[in-house]
């Protein structure tokens, strides 16, 4: 056993030794240790380097407030965790820890040379230099600065772990399982209320874990704790979550909570498939929240207060009582608050020689003096520390009477325990947007006005006695249960003997700092912000506390100022000569402690990152080698290459087959809405630009939909199934917004219309068949539909059966060929497709994807909303005035079409382009110029919206929008692309079969 491990006591398991290493050196620890306690048990204090000056740093706390002792934890491939607090990392066998932010080693760190320049590197120095010569910023200064910065190691490998999340609901959420939280849980749970109790530590108890000598209602505190735990665990309505941090308090009592499930476990590599559930995000909605988050001890600000071995007084007490570790053989205490005496006495009791207690106060209670006397501990009243020594660990301090630099006395020690009073942990309360009030007696802010259904109890509310925590916790638990709807349960009160000492703290004592000469007195230990830095910021005119924070970066490190903010505030208040209450506070923001990206992403990784919607025939496409593209959430077949074919070859073949015989493609992803009711036609009249009343039953029409701003919003074919029933189709990605928009107008603008909407997108699989032989292919398999050319004309819809399943058969065409769209119930989409492929063999049927679809329609000059349009085109711009029902009084967007800029003469209009060189396929998105000119900025008159090689025409074709394009037919224009200006002629956008004869076969 090491010389720093006590012989007995603590909550570690002495029977279970663990091996671990730090920077390659092996050590032994015990089950129940934290990495910090295990290092201290081995006499290791120096574990880190600070951010800016690379100063040696030790372990300053025993909990989550740790600002200094950040290390890397290596748990094998992909499991390296950077900037982990040694104080919260539980020890496991084989743990490997590394120091960070130092090179080549912790002890010999080249970066520490920066400390030489530290006077020049005064706060905010980087705003004032590195500007000359100008180019040096990019090439010299910034790269150097960047390499100096960045605390932790950057990740290099994929993380093998899993993360999960869950929504939880409860009557009472209790955050913090110290005496206050436990008493609240006991009280709240009696009535059967659903209670969730969370604590960030690996076991419940909070401060009880450091106070074995206290007695609660006559029971030893640890026995009381064990009893309480047993009782709570036996209740089905109570969930206790340890290693679980409430990190964010959001609106309406919604709390983000992270549970750590495996960071405390040993090697994970031999787990099956090397996967572990690492963390779980609990998204808790609580009827009532009890905040029992305790308080954080404040460091004192004196010169050299950052040497390894200098730590918070409670930390020493925790290491002793909880972990059975003495932080030194000759610790010295510096304080302005009674609670530090507790640490001194406990250590003395354990046989440690306490060098002295230096108390900044001139007077303290006689009881303390007496007790110290009994234990042989010297007290220096009205003294402070003005300097410390020790290269890698504190070895002595210089003490002097407060305010003087005379009568300096050097005291040898190997640890310094500091206490500057206590700061209630109001982080979550403040996040909930409660407001705080200042309490002079404790020198801290406490909760005042609540804006959510919550209450704060115990130390986080400024009540620092264990008895107060227990009793107020019990009352809060009761109230919470009642307000959450439980019947009034019975109340409890607790008596505590031997509870910790507490005292008031004079306001002027907070944040006061002492130094001789130029010694650095640190406020923010991680960001190396000193008391003088704050003074300098104030001198430079940074008077708002928010400015001071940002200029000095105090409180902006990974601990978010848990131990430093109040000291910083007090020092600023003195520098500004303004009372602390007028200085204000910076904003508390989530997370309470750093929260992994993995747990925030939760299930949204890999395949579950987003839904992939697959069409009914996707399985066939997959099996037949389709190449897919994402369209919205859908995955659609883009083309079907045969072996050795590239996309262009495949598309050329697919298009050719469609124009000469039959092409088949899946159009199931198109949005579909069934519009039913006596007013259905009138409803569509108002939604679309087109008129609908006169559309005959069994007929279809292309419909165009605008936004109220007059721009094209969506389009699609609408078929009339009966007087009061329409089958509407929309674009694939527009489907949800079109449905939402239709519902909106139906419900809120025209509630008088008798019409209803049903989304039927996924009720129907849609197989589009195009080509001169299509009728011949399907006719034999269809029942109940007369197929003759005249009874079933172009733009008609019929209902019947195909292959024995019901169909809504549209005769429509997006290719310019004879076309049918076979709608069948989705489950039969695949079967029908397979049958059609089978039957189509004799026509050399060819499946085609979205790419050919786009090509075929471009030859016909049909637009695609979102490709030819970008949300700023009117129907007239697209040459689609024919789609506007001129006689209609109104439709969505009509009024906007007559705003002056919408009628402007030179608007961009849709045209076709034919390149002079048939083989040049223009780039989509390329810009068009009226003349060849290298002047920049150039005058652009439009851009290419679609462009393809047309196999049919043996010529490249393009669609474009061009300033006043329709009046410029035949004009030569130039497309600027890499390689130069490509000339092309403006032509009609319909390239193929302008008379539409092929539709009427």
């Amino acid at each position: 056993m090491s010389e720093f491990r006590t012989a007995k006591g603590g909550r570690i398991c002495r029977k279970t030794p663990l091996n671990f290493s730090f920077d390659g050196q092996s050590y032994a620890g015990l089950q129940g240790d934290s990495l910090a306690s295990a290092l201290l048990a081995n006499g290791v204090h120096f574990v880190a380097r600070s951010y800016k000056y690379h100063r040696p740093r030790g372990i300053m706390s025993a909990g989550t407030e740790e600002a200094s002792a950040l290390v890397g934890i290596d748990r094998g491939k992909g499991r390296f965790d950077t900037s982990t607090r040694a104080t919260t990392q539980e020890l496991f066998d084989g743990l490997k820890a590394q120091s960070q932010h130092c090179w080549p080693s912790l002890k010999f760190d080249v970066g520490a040379l920066t400390a030489l320049g530290s006077p020049v590197m005064s706060t905010g120095f980087y705003y004032k230099t590195f500007m000359w010569p100008k180019a040096f910023w990019e090439w010299v200064y910034e790269p150097i600065l960047r390499n100096l910065a960045g605390l932790g190691r950057a990740p290099k490998e994929m993380d093998p772990d899993n993360y999960s999340s869950i929504h939880a609901h409860c009557d009472v959420l209790i955050i913090g399982a110290g005496p206050a939280g436990l008493a609240a849980a006991l009280a709240a749970s009696q009535s059967g209320s659903k209670v969730i109790l969370v604590d960030e530590n690996n076991e419940i108890g909070g401060d009880l874990l450091n106070c074995p000598i206290a007695q609660i209602d006559g029971t030893n505190s640890w026995d009381w704790l064990a009893e309480t735990e047993k009782q709570l665990a036996s209740l089905p309505n109570v969930t206790i979550l340890t290693r679980t941090t409430a990190f964010g308090y959001y609106d309406q009592n919604f709390i983000g909570v992270v549970q750590k499930l495996s960071d405390h476990l040993g090697s994970l590599e031999n787990k099956p498939d090397n996967k572990t559930l690492r963390e779980r995000l609990w998204k808790v909605r609580a009827k009532r929240v009890v905040l029992a988050t305790g308080s954080i001890e404040r460091p004192l600000v004196f010169a050299g207060n950052d040497r390894p071995g200098i730590m918070l007084a409670t930390a020493a007490k925790t290491f002793l009582n909880r972990y059975g570790v003495k932080v030194g053989n000759r610790p010295l205490v510096i304080t302005n608050h009674d609670s530090a005496y507790e640490s001194a006495f406990d250590l003395a009791e354990a046989g440690v020689e306490v060098a002295a207690i230096i108390d900044r106060r001139a007077k303290i209670s006689s009881k303390l003096v007496e007790q110290a006397g009994k234990m042989g501990i010297e007290i220096l009243l009205g003294h402070t520390i003005v300097q410390t020594s020790g290269k890698h660990r504190v070895c002595s301090v210089r003490a002097a009477p407060v305010g003087e630099n005379a009568s300096i006395r050097k005291i040898k020690c190997d640890a310094v325990l500091m206490c500057g009073g206590w700061t209630p942990s109001v982080h979550l309360f403040s996040q909930s947007r409660g407001t705080l009030t200042w309490r002079d007696d404790i020198g801290a802010y406490v909760p005042n006005n609540y804006t959510q259904d919550a209450t704060s109890v115990g130390a986080c509310n400024g009540d620092f006695l264990m008895s107060q925590s227990l009793n107020k916790g019990a009352v809060a638990g009761l109230e919470a249960a009642v307000s959450a709807g439980a019947k009034a349960p019975k109340s409890t009160s607790y008596k505590v003997v031997n509870e910790a000492l507490t005292s008031d703290i004079p306001v002027e004592e907070i944040g006061i700092f002492s130094t001789i000469g130029e010694g650095k007195a640190f406020v923010d230990f991680q960001h190396d912000v000193t008391a003088k830095d704050i003074g300098q910021a104030v001198r430079e005119g940074f008077h708002s506390i928010e400015h001071i924070k940002r200029f000095t970066t105090t409180g902006m490190a990974t601990d978010q100022g848990k131990t430093s903010n109040l000291n910083g505030l007090a020092i600023a208040s003195a520098a500004l000569e303004r009372p602390i209450t007028e200085v204000g506070l910076t904003t508390f923001r989530p997370p309470y402690t750093p929260t992994s990206f993995g747990v925030l992403a939760g299930y949204s990784r890999g395949d579950l990152f987003d839904v992939t919607r697959k069409s009914p025939t996707e399985k066939w496409a997959e099996q037949n080698g389709a190449v897919f593209e994402p369209v919205g959430l859908w995955r659609r077949a883009r083309y079907f290459p045969k072996t050795g074919e590239n996309m262009h070859e495949a598309v050329a073949r697919e298009c050719k087959a469609t124009r000469t015989s039959i092409g088949i493609s899946d159009a199931s992803t198109l949005g579909k809405i069934e519009v039913v009711g006596p007013d259905a036609a009138e409803f569509l009249n108002r939604i679309y630009t087109n008129p609908w009343s006169k559309l005959g039953v069994g007929r279809c029409r292309y419909g165009l939909m605008l936004g109220e701003d007059g721009y094209i919003f969506d389009d699609g074919v609408v078929g009339r199934l009966s007087e009061d029933r329409f089958h509407v189709t929309t674009t694939t990605s527009g489907a949800p917004r079109v449905f939402a928009r239709m519902e909106d107008y139906r419900q809120t603008e025209w509630p008088e219309l008798k019409v209803w909407l049903t989304s039927i997108t996924e009720q129907w699989a849609v197989i589009a068949l195009n080509g001169p032989n299509v009728r011949k292919l399907i006719e034999p398999f269809v029942e109940g539909i007369d197929f003759s050319k005249d009874t079933f004309p172009h733009m008609a819809i019929r209902e019947g059966m195909i292959f024995g399943v019901p169909t809504r058969l549209f005769r429509v065409s997006f290719t310019g060929e004879l076309g049918f769209e076979v709608n069948v119930p989705s489950a039969y989409g695949l079967g029908v497709w397979q049958r059609l492929m089978e039957a189509g063999k004799k026509f050399d049927i060819v499946p085609y994807g979205t790419e050919s679809l786009h090509m075929l329609r471009a030859e016909k000059g049909y637009i695609i909303v979102g490709q030819e349009t970008d949300g700023t085109q009117t129907p007239d711009d697209m040459g689609m005035n024919w789609a506007i029902g001129k006689k209609k009084q109104d439709f969505i967007g009509k009024r906007s079409l007559v705003r002056s800029d919408m009628l402007a003469p030179n608007r961009k209009q849709l045209v076709g382009l034919m390149t002079n060189d048939a083989n040049i396929v223009l780039d989509e998105g390329a810009q068009i110029m009226g003349e060849k000119s290298n002047v920049i900025p150039a005058k652009m008159i439009g851009h290419i919206t679609s462009s393809y090689w047309s196999e049919t025409l043996q010529h490249s074709i393009a669609l474009a929008i061009i300033d006043g394009g329709r009046a410029r037919m035949g004009e030569e224009i130039y497309i600027s692309m890499p390689g130069g200006f490509y000339p092309a002629r403006i032509v009609d956008p319909v390239f193929y079969d302008p008379e539409g004869e092929r539709l009427n076969v």
């Binding site: 609106d251 909605r285 939402a740 809120t748 603008e749 705003r899």
Partner: protein, 100 residues
């Protein structure tokens, strides 16, 4: 995640079931074509956008499928009232009442 009291479901439901649908009580003019450019601009684009109490529309898209209105404080994010579409804008007195 906000909790929203849907006046149709008559339940408090989580924000992710809803989509926000803009400012409330902007009635579409009966005959847009008769409006001046200024009046039409006002309908299309001009909004109250004040900090504090706001009137807004929500769509219970993944719930009952209904559009409805809400009065909410957009600084504290607290809902004050929700009510069916088509119902008149609540009076200041009603809002005060709901707040107390």
């Amino acid at each position: 995640m906000l909790l929203i009291d849907c006046p149709y479901c008559k339940e408090m439901r989580p924000e992710v079931e809803f989509s926000h649908a803009g400012e409330a009580h902007i009635d579409r003019p009966a005959d847009p074509s008769s409006l001046s450019d200024e009046e039409w601009e006002s309908f299309l684009f001009l909004r109250s956008n004040r900090a504090g109490i706001c009137f807004e529309r929500w769509y219970h898209i993944h719930g009952c499928g209904r559009y409805f209105n809400a009065v909410r404080n957009n600084v504290s994010e607290k809902f004050i009232l929700t009510y069916p579409a088509g119902q008149k804008r609540p009076s200041d007195a009603q809002i005060k009442g709901a707040l107390s």
